[in-house]
Symmetry: none
Subunit: 207 residues, 4 copies
Amino acid sequence: MKTPTSAGRPVRNQQERAIHTRAQILRTAAEMFADSGFRQTSLTTVAERAEITKGAVYFHFASKEALAIAVVEEQYSRWPNLVTEVRGLGLSPIETVTELLDRTAIAFRDDVIVRGGVRLQTERSLIEAQLPQPYTAWIGRMTALLEDADAAGQLRPGVTPEAGARVLVEGFFGMQHISDTLNGRADLMERWGEMREILMYAIAARP
Amino acid sequence: MKTPTSAGRPVRNQQERAIHTRAQILRTAAEMFADSGFRQTSLTTVAERAEITKGAVYFHFASKEALAIAVVEEQYSRWPNLVTEVRGLGLSPIETVTELLDRTAIAFRDDVIVRGGVRLQTERSLIEAQLPQPYTAWIGRMTALLEDADAAGQLRPGVTPEAGARVLVEGFFGMQHISDTLNGRADLMERWGEMREILMYAIAARP
Amino acid sequence: MKTPTSAGRPVRNQQERAIHTRAQILRTAAEMFADSGFRQTSLTTVAERAEITKGAVYFHFASKEALAIAVVEEQYSRWPNLVTEVRGLGLSPIETVTELLDRTAIAFRDDVIVRGGVRLQTERSLIEAQLPQPYTAWIGRMTALLEDADAAGQLRPGVTPEAGARVLVEGFFGMQHISDTLNGRADLMERWGEMREILMYAIAARP
Amino acid sequence: MKTPTSAGRPVRNQQERAIHTRAQILRTAAEMFADSGFRQTSLTTVAERAEITKGAVYFHFASKEALAIAVVEEQYSRWPNLVTEVRGLGLSPIETVTELLDRTAIAFRDDVIVRGGVRLQTERSLIEAQLPQPYTAWIGRMTALLEDADAAGQLRPGVTPEAGARVLVEGFFGMQHISDTLNGRADLMERWGEMREILMYAIAARP
DNA sequence: ACGTTCGGGACGGCCCGTTAGT
DNA sequence: ACTAACGGGCCGTCCCGAACGT
């Protein structure tokens, strides 16, 4: 599994090592971005924690911004997969929304890359590079799902798919942030349960 | 470099000038904190924008942290007044909640000190100083109000005052943050209207 | 004793207070100069410890250098008095030298002004102002005394008054400095006894 | 600003350049410490005089304190070598002491590192870092030598090796300091001759 | 290709000595 | 005798290349 550093050098694949190094950097950076934000995270410290040198970081990522972008995009790549996965379960539109957000909540609690990416999005304004606009993709996904719900008569009259989508995303984000601030996300699932009950009562049609 | 005391108003006496200077620093700092966050805000720039020197900043505030604390506390001092004001209007508990949050939304949009304070609270983890814990005061206030509502039979069965309060604060915060990110708060009142309709539908009892 | 601060203001003598304040500043500064040296001593701290404001310091002393000069001169003013005092005792020249240096050692141990002045002399090169040249006055005094001793046949053949004077001053200074560094001057008298025995054995004629 | 790597020697490889740079910094710093003391010496100026940038200084030394420590330890490393060298000459104990101090005097006059280290030791109290305690090593060395002298009957009765050692070190230090202050060490050898005659007369047994 | 060593500039926060105007 | 403010300097540290192995 580990590349033998000893002599003989069957270093058939520096490439494997490179990939491993890259991933290591990405994960370490994500952690530190999540905990401390962009500016507070110094490349020096990232390198130290990843147990390589600053030079190596610069080989894999052209700049600190590039590193941030990589983290964010790595996080972004997770959601489409999750959506198709959940959609494949054969649930009703409203149930699909619920299930999707439940799983997202879990990722927000457990996945370092996600946490780092979220934090970076939060600080978007102060990173030079062009990060993809946050929230809108999620609002779009939710809108689509709620339109399905509407077509199936599952939406409470008076609630538009757009408004419902926005409120879901806003509520989810606020919940997650405050849970993080007050309890380090320990009570995230509990808080999400509370929020979900109230939002869904108002958004879904009474059966 | 600049001689800010000359030109402009003929500042009557020292003390008035000092108060004015202090307020000027506080306002400028709040703006920059709001726009760029704590670490990104440099005292050099604050001084430049406030048209004074760094020395003057350090005369009024012992450190950058002290300045941040001053902004946050200035913001905190606003809410109790607002609450008593709204409570004096003689509205029903639920109407009081609504009115209070409406006015808070306006402050979030227009008041620089509030915006700065909110941003700093968001970055609480990375400021050395001991900022007062955010959100809890608001959750407490909301809980009290919803207990009144409960006593008056205005709460939907199944919703506890605590849960309702938390969801209101989380929703409000998320809404405000996303409005800021996506539209610079231009659509804040509109978004708050949306959020309020849905939350209140689920929290208040049907008449 | 204290000037009544109450109304009526028979403040007959602000002047007395001023003198007291000045002395207070001088003493405090001397202590800090002695402990920390010139540059390390900040006027802010001096003012704090003297329990007045920086403005007051600047009322009494035109600059930090002026303050240092005042300390040094205050210290310088002590020696001539001491010399005439000891000369009045009617001792032999060699005994006079011994008695004078014994008393000087006591002053080096107990007198704050002296300690401050000595330290400042040590750092002479890095103070802008023109401090009086140190050591030379002492060497001069010692030379005069040893010339008396020579005339009285109390000097060991081969020892010139000039050389004897220089060695006495150098030895005394080195002794005092090392005692300060290693023991905070606690063993100064003991060390001086040691040094005196050896130097005097070599300088004085055998009776 | 400066591009010190271009022009001049065609720096064979990195490592040589690094060693050269480090030594250059050390020497420059020692000079400035010797002339101006610790606090008065600014890293900016050190860098300028060494014709490199502050970044380079901080690559080689973690802090200003670390730089001071390096100078002091560099100086400390000189003496043991000198002692064994002189001991190898096959002189009598007393002659060894004399020869050793003669050579030390030369180093105090000519070796920048020594001068810097001595000055830093003098200012020991006001440097945060833990400098090794000065003087004691020298007193120890002298004591050992004088014990040898005592065993060989070369010590004047009534003089203990400890007292003799202390007085030698104190006298040497005082002499060197005053020569520095009054004449920039130009007359150091002459003054040391004077001091040596007197001290040795009192310490050594009459043959 | 992958990684390191060495070094370059640029600020950033702090704080200090000093001076106007009371 | 003080309050308010100025201007400048210092240490630290950060992000980043260029030169050099391997």
